[in-house]
């Protein structure tokens, strides 16, 4: 299965007559590294991208409205704060129930990420993924047991993959090369 993750129809190069498309691309590249911590961060970005401060702010606002920017703010590294028990729980659920179960699990306050991915048989039979960012391993285990009970997942083939080490964690680079 080869699923497109890029929406080709998404036209983020708005108002191209007054804002240079290259400037916008450079702005996206700069934004992937975050905002400068100086009193006028949008002006600093403008100077690096050949846009005006107003154009930078307009682009950021429009990208937020369009959903290209999902949130704008402080991006926390949970592990540093003490969230050390990160569990990826995976289930093999029937295809016709995966959406319904995914939405139900996603509503739980302990579930931080939840999505469907393809099975890769025979080695990987699981299609529903849930992430729990926890502080204490035992507490995460009991939260998982609770989820299983609440959603009738007893007897559903599953695995729990705790992560014991982060080798790399940073924001996605979609535009820039690295």
């Amino acid at each position: 299965m080869n699923l497109p993750a890029t929406r080709q129809d998404q036209n983020y190069l708005f108002d191209t007559q007054s804002i240079s498309a290259w400037g916008l691309l450079r702005l996206r590249e700069q934004l992937e590294n975050g905002l400068p911590l100086t009193p006028r961060p949008y002006l600093a970005l403008a100077e690096r991208t050949g846009l005006t401060e107003q154009q930078v702010m307009q682009a950021v606002s429009q990208w937020q409205q369009q959903g290209l920017i999902k949130r704008l703010g402080l991006v926390v590294k949970h592990r540093t704060l003490g969230y050390r028990a990160n569990a990826m729980a995976v289930w093999n659920v029937p295809d016709d129930r995966v959406s319904e179960l995914g939405k139900a699990l996603a509503a739980s306050p302990v579930v931080t990420l939840c999505y469907q991915r393809p099975r890769r048989l025979p080695n990987w039979p699981y299609n529903l993924f849930c992430m729990i960012h926890g502080i204490d391993r035992n507490r995460v285990q009991s939260q998982l047991e609770q989820l299983v009970l609440e959603h009738g997942l007893e007897g559903t083939p599953h695995a729990v993959l705790f992560s014991n080490k982060a080798y790399l964690q940073r924001g996605g680079r979609y535009v820039s090369d690295r």
Partner: protein, 154 residues
């Protein structure tokens, strides 16, 4: 790591909705009863301490470009070596050890699907390990901006 009250308030209030204005840190300072210089100083320190990876946007991956979760089963004694090679591959932004036969899990991004595929092929060839490729089919909840449970932290 223990943070003081002002740092906690900054995180609680501004994991989202950072102002888009000429002086955003001044706006934040006013709301929290700090000075602009103090906000900038605190954010810089939190970034140096690796409490924050950055201040800025989180892009919606399905609109921003191509991305994929992948995993390999590295021999135990070669985990660090294989992880280092994965980290060097272009577009890799997360890489975790997990307790499973598939013990290294990483996310790769690229401007488009073709580039992503090429990068994965190249990495798979370098590692000489079969790679589990798991694109997202449907997201039900993808937001790591959850409220921090300060009381429960060590």
């Amino acid at each position: 790591m223990r943070l003081d009250m002002a740092d906690r308030q900054l995180i609680d209030r501004y994991q989202r909705d950072l102002p888009v204005s000429e002086r955003p840190y001044e706006d934040m300072a006013r709301e929290l009863g700090l000075t602009e210089a103090e906000v900038i100083e605190r954010l810089s320190t939190l970034q140096e301490q690796q409490v924050l990876s950055r201040v800025g946007p989180v892009f919606e991956h399905s609109q921003a470009g191509a991305s994929l979760l992948a995993a390999v089963a590295a021999p135990d004694e070669q985990m660090d070596l294989v992880a280092a090679r994965i980290n060097r591959a272009p577009g890799v932004n997360h890489n975790y050890a997990r307790e499973h036969t598939y013990n290294l899990w990483f996310v790769m991004t690229a401007p488009n699907e073709d580039t992503l595929e090429e990068r994965l092929d190249e990495l798979e060839h370098q590692l000489k390990l079969p790679m589990l490729r798991l694109p997202m089919v449907e997201g039900y909840h993808i937001d790591l901006g959850f409220d921090i449970d300060w009381e429960a932290l060590p």
